[in-house]
């Protein structure tokens, strides 16, 4: 019975008034945030669509990486950020998606677009199957089980070499670049740019879909139900929320994106092997990015992905080990000092409203 104190009505009123800040209603502009985002998103997409015409190959790849991390972090957040079921298994889904996509192209000569889509759905299906037993576990045990399953997937893919070619990896045909077309009809120029940067555009589309899905989840009742599970799963169930169904749905939704992203990534790099695509760093990236920006928010993972990737990409390319030090240190600092991430910090200061549209 600790923590239960008698309060006089006056004290209660006092507390209501002085609980941190004035208990203001959400500001009027909050209602229109959706439209603002739409405009921003369309603007960003238009600019990013034009970007390969302006930038050199290095910067296009950098932008592709930012988009990849947005897709990974935003999708990780759909389950783990909203419901609190932290998954250390995103790398596993990324790896599985890479392999499904690469093997479809390698064996079946599937054209790459259906291969990417199938990779996403195959991963989501796997999540559906493993979600039923694993999501019955309480949060921390789910987290550790996912760590184990992710490693298990890597070992199985490595060992099953009759199908996956094992440790030697899978080579994919390199995209044949056309010579740049800089004159003539605009439509030809565009087709030329799109052709030469297929993987970039695919990743752009995937990131946009991930963001739209994340917004839809974050602002819907489904999102509130996930948050209720995070805050008090037992009470949520007792209030009639179908927690199992909701968690599994979120898990499948969340795993589609690393799967599809893995397949695009496989095509982008041209060679995948188990150590490179099942690398724990893919999970670490998604997690570090999300918690830095703010897990359980819509904008958090996006902001985190842009900031963190632009700042650290040089480190990742030149010294992956140092990169790991950096991300590990970042996770420690965020958990200790800004557990809610940047956005929650701003919300606690009262600089941003506490709305689900953030």
């Amino acid at each position: 019975m600790s923590g239960v104190t008698e309060e006089t009505p006056a004290a209660e009123l006092e507390r209501a008034r002085e609980s941190g800040r004035p208990v203001a209603r959400l500001p009027r502009w909050e209602r229109h945030l959706g439209w603002l985002y739409l405009v921003l998103l369309l603007g960003a997409v238009a600019w990013l669509a034009w970007f390969p015409r302006l930038a050199n190959a290095y910067n296009v790849t950098l932008a592709l990486t930012v988009l990849l991390v947005i897709a990974l972090a935003t999708s990780w957040n759909i389950l783990s950020g909203f419901s609190g079921y932290t998954s250390f298994g995103h790398a596993g889904f990324f790896g599985i998606g890479s392999y499904v996509g690469a093997l479809l192209i390698f064996y079946e000569r599937t054209s790459w677009i259906p291969a990417v889509i199938l990779a996403g759905f195959a991963t989501a299906l796997i999540a559906l199957v493993i979600g039923y037993p694993t999501l019955r576990l309480r949060g921390p045990y789910f987290a550790i089980t996912m760590l184990g399953l992710s490693e298990l997937a890597r070992i199985v893919v490595t060992a099953w070499d009759s199908l996956t070619l094992g440790g030697q990896g899978v080579y994919l045909p390199i995209l044949r670049l056309e010579p740049p077309v800089t004159s003539g009809p605009l439509i030809d120029q565009l087709r030329n740019v799109v052709h030469n940067n297929q993987n970039y555009y695919a990743m752009l589309l995937l990131a946009v879909v991930a963001i739209v899905v994340s917004y839809a989840v974050g602002t819907s009742r489904f999102g509130l139900e996930l948050l209720a599970i995070r805050d008090d799963e037992l009470a949520a169930r007792a209030m009639g929320i179908r927690t199992t169904r909701i968690k599994i749905t979120a898990f499948a939704l969340s795993s589609f994106f690393p799967g599809a992203a893995g397949a695009i990534y496989a095509r982008h790099v041209g060679l995948i092997d188990p150590p490179s695509v099942f690398l724990v760093i893919w999970s670490i990236r998604a997690i570090a990015t999300s918690i830095l920006g703010g897990q359980g928010t819509i904008l958090g993972p996006i902001i985190g992905a842009i900031v963190l990737t632009l700042v650290t990409e040089k480190v990742w390319e030149t010294d992956p080990n140092l990169y790991q030090v950096f991300l590990g240190g970042l996770i420690v600092l965020v958990v200790l000092f800004i557990p809610g991430g940047i956005l929650a910090l701003l919300q606690d200061r009262g600089w941003l409203p506490r709305t689900r549209r953030i």
Partner: protein
Amino acid sequence: MDLLQVIVSGLLLGGVYALLAAGLNLIFGVMRVINLAHGELLMLGAYATFFFYDTTGLNPLLAIPLVAAAMFAGGMVLQRLTIERVVGQPLLSSLLLTFGLSTLLTGVALNLWTTNFRSVVYEPLTGSLGIGGLSISRSRLVAFAIALVVSGATYVFLRRSTWGKAIRATAQHAEVAQVCGIDVGRVRLVSFGLGSAMAATAGSLVAIVFTFNPEIGRVFIGKAFAIIVLGGLGSFVGAFLGALTLGVTETLAAYYTSTQLSEAVAYAVMVGVLLVRPSGFFGQAES
């Protein structure tokens, strides 16, 4: 005869695992923190032993008390700076924190020592002994004996000494322990130091028996979780039996299939047991 050989070899392996799992168990018991960086503490112990041997050329077993003492101190520093701040918070906070620490320590080690595998090859500890027709690796036998002694000593320490009683009281019920005049903050500090020292000792033994690189932490944490799943929380004996079971199963898997698949045993055990018995991880630790 082959089978017996494999089983004995697996049992010897289990001793080192037990030491690792016991430390993890102790830390969880006292502060309800799942230490995902436990494998990295082992990895640091292995490197410390390696460098001791590399610079002095002395018997690497002499390094064990030094390494344990250093990691006892290092563990306490780590506890004060980081872990203590998340005690009492939801398990997920500490899980993320120790995940960050694990990533950080692995990264630092990779920077310093690269992914190259190393091992401590000390002549008197190499080769095998022939006992009753069995050929037993000398280093494994020594490692098993030391793991057994250290585990046993810790067990007696927790059972008999005043500190041990304080630790167990805190693990049972922290608030009650506090009311009874136990400084639970210091108990947590010492427990984490002790758990770290046990992990480091296991690391020293790993350095003697196996080859290692900065990434083995992740492999060993998987094994430690599998053992705890098998043996149950808080049960010293249970964890010991779990460790022996895992050691034997892994060795059998390596013998009958491939080394690669034997790596999967720990994860498969962990996932399998959890799915059959969802409450079975760290028991009914929180309701």
